[in-house]
């Protein structure tokens, strides 16, 4: 049976780890900056495209991955500038960048798909140390945790705190001397850099980059963040980012299990979307139900009085 097979867990955990930084990027925009950023759909394949193209051109995979991160930063920056300087709504700004990125990604790759089969990967060094069975997983875990720890630290610095405050209360932080436009641009750059990094890791992990691979990534990121929040309910940063890691991995497992149970891969997107709708809509839904309950009680009381 598949669920008794260690390989199933290993593979799914690896995939989950490759997607953690996507979720982390979405966490930064959606939860910290309070900005629904669709750039993600373009910056994920952008990271994959830049890394893949660099690697097949003979560049060191570590450098290729760093380039992918930087490319993602630029993408986020552009969304930020469109939003803050040109005053175009955040959602639309993201869509505009995402749409442009589709063309750019095709230009970078020169075709719609690049295979990285038997090409050098960022995991190679670790595989030499830890063996080919565990090398990939261990290297992914190391990369994810380095990023997590750096992010945790960063968000507690003077500068990082002002990013959190910008999402929390922009009016207030402006009166304390922060240019919130700059902070938004910076935050979007950082977030999309991480998303592109995730794209670069996933391309190397799956040995291929594809222009279509960004589709639905925003929802995947949101679902991961939300699942994480079910288990870790706090705004304390180190716990919250741990929650994001957990959420991304659990999401992958949910998907993998559904596939094994015979769900059609093409139906999974709507399942994920509905999950996100329910999770994000829960507070309103609850209020609605409570209202009904309240009305019933009130009615009873009125009846008793009569």
């Amino acid at each position: 049976m598949w669920y008794l097979n260690l390989n199933f867990y290993m593979k799914t955990l690896e995939e989950g780890m490759a997607f953690v930084l996507l979720a982390m990027g979405v966490y930064i925009t959606f939860r910290i900056l309070d900005f629904a950023d669709l750039t993600v759909e373009g910056s994920f394949p952008l990271g994959a495209a830049v890394a893949a193209k660099s690697i097949v051109s003979g560049l060191n995979p570590v450098l290729a991955t760093i380039f992918a991160f930087l490319a993602g930063c630029i993408a986020g920056m552009i969304t930020g500038i469109i939003n803050t300087r040109l005053k175009i709504a955040g959602l639309l700004a993201g869509i505009l960048t995402m749409t442009s990125l589709y063309s750019i990604n095709l230009r970078i790759m020169g075709k719609s798909q690049i295979s990285l089969f038997r090409k050098p990967r960022i995991f190679d060094g670790f595989e030499r140390i830890f063996g080919s069975d565990y090398g990939t997983l261990i290297s992914l875990i190391i990369i994810v945790f380095i990023v997590k720890i750096l992010l945790d630290f960063f968000l507690h610095t003077e500068f990082g705190m002002s990013i959190r405050a910008t999402g929390d209360n922009p009016v207030m932080i402006e009166t304390l001397g922060i240019n919130t436009d700059f902070i938004k641009i910076f935050g979007l750059a950082l977030a999309n850099g991480m998303v592109a990094l995730s794209g670069a890791l996933f391309a190397q992990y799956s040995s291929s980059a594809d222009v279509q691979m960004g589709m639905g990534m925003i929802v995947v990121g949101l679902a991961s963040v939300i699942i994480g929040e079910v288990f870790v309910r706090t705004s304390k940063i180190p716990f919250a980012t741990s929650g994001v890691i957990l959420g991304a991995v659990l999401y992958r497992f949910a998907i993998a299990v559904s596939l094994r149970l015979g769900f059609d891969a093409t139906d999974l997107k709507i399942v994920t979307a509905v999950l996100v709708i329910i999770a994000l809509g829960a507070p309103s839904l609850r209020r609605f139900l409570i209202q009904d309950e309240f009305a019933e009680k009130l009615l009873e009381e009125v009846d008793e009085d009569a």
């Binding site: 003077e158 500068f159 705190m161 405050a165 209360n169 304390l176 001397g177 922060i178 919130t180």
Partner: protein, 266 residues
């Protein structure tokens, strides 16, 4: 110290709902002046504060602070010399962040923020001391998120934050109006002490006539974007609330319509 010269602020210029919110306001404050501002709803009181804070830029006129023309400076650039408290306690603090994190944000007012940790032992000690000075017991709750605080506690914290980092001007916009009377009084007392301690120049909007005459050393009354009465010195000391309300009807040709003002007469 602070000069407003012939300030005009027009909203929706060229549209049917054009609104001349400030219509030629001149005001000059010296260091240490404490100005109270009264007037009916929509008179332009908040707009004056917004002009000083940089939230709005006037169409005509100049804002001068310590000899520098800051008329076109954005809000964040003015933070180094302006602290501000709004009416709504929720507006002055970051709810999800802790008390000490909020204080740290204010501590760096107008300064470059780098990659140093925002909190360390030295800062925590200082924050604890400043909080205990408020006398609300907040010094034992440094790590609580601000959303757990009551309105009054939040407003006290906002006052503290608005005066951290050495601003020289403090703007208070009906900052006790959303609080119950007892809490409001507590906040007013803290306001007096904090202004005294930090030697600030203050502009305070209030709908409480008694407060307007008792606090500070100067008072202006506004109507339809204009200053219609200025009080200071002996004339101000002799002024009573009844007389002030009468003066308003005389000058503006109408009754003082803000019911909150009337309620606060007693």
């Amino acid at each position: 110290m602070l000069k407003l010269e012939n300030i005009h602020k027009v909203f929706n210029y060229g549209k049917v709902n054009v609104n001349h919110a400030l219509n030629g306001v001149d005001l000059s404050l010296s260091e240490g002046d404490f100005l109270t501002i009264i007037g009916s709803n929509g008179a332009g009181k908040s707009t004056i504060l917004n002009i000083v804070a940089g939230t709005y830029t006037p169409e005509i006129g100049r804002v001068v602070v310590d000899g520098k023309d800051v008329t076109r400076w954005p809000t964040h650039k003015r933070a180094s010399f302006v602290g501000r408290v709004f009416q709504d306690p929720l507006r002055g603090t970051a709810a999800e962040m802790t008390i000490e994190e909020n204080l740290s944000l204010a501590y760096m007012r107008g300064k470059r923020r780098g990659l140093k940790l925002g909190l360390n032992k030295k800062r925590r000690d200082e924050f604890r001391e400043r909080l205990s000075w408020l006398g609300l017991g907040l010094e034992d709750r440094l790590e609580d998120p601000v959303k757990l605080l009551s309105g009054g506690q939040r407003q006290a914290l906002t006052l503290l934050m608005a005066t951290l980092g050495e601003p020289i001007i403090l703007l208070l916009d009906e900052h006790t109006a959303a609080l119950d009377p007892k809490t409001a009084e507590q906040i007013i007392n803290i306001t007096r002490r904090i202004v005294e301690k930090n030697k600030l120049t203050v502009l305070m909007v209030t709908h409480n006539m008694k407060q307007a005459l008792e606090m500070g050393n100067r008072t202006i009354m506004m109507d339809k974007g204009k200053i219609i009465l200025e009080l200071q010195g002996e004339e101000r000391e002799k002024m009573t609330i009844g007389e002030l309300v009468k003066k308003f009807s005389e000058k503006s040709g109408q009754e003082l319509t803000d019911d909150r003002v009337l309620l606060a007469k007693e």
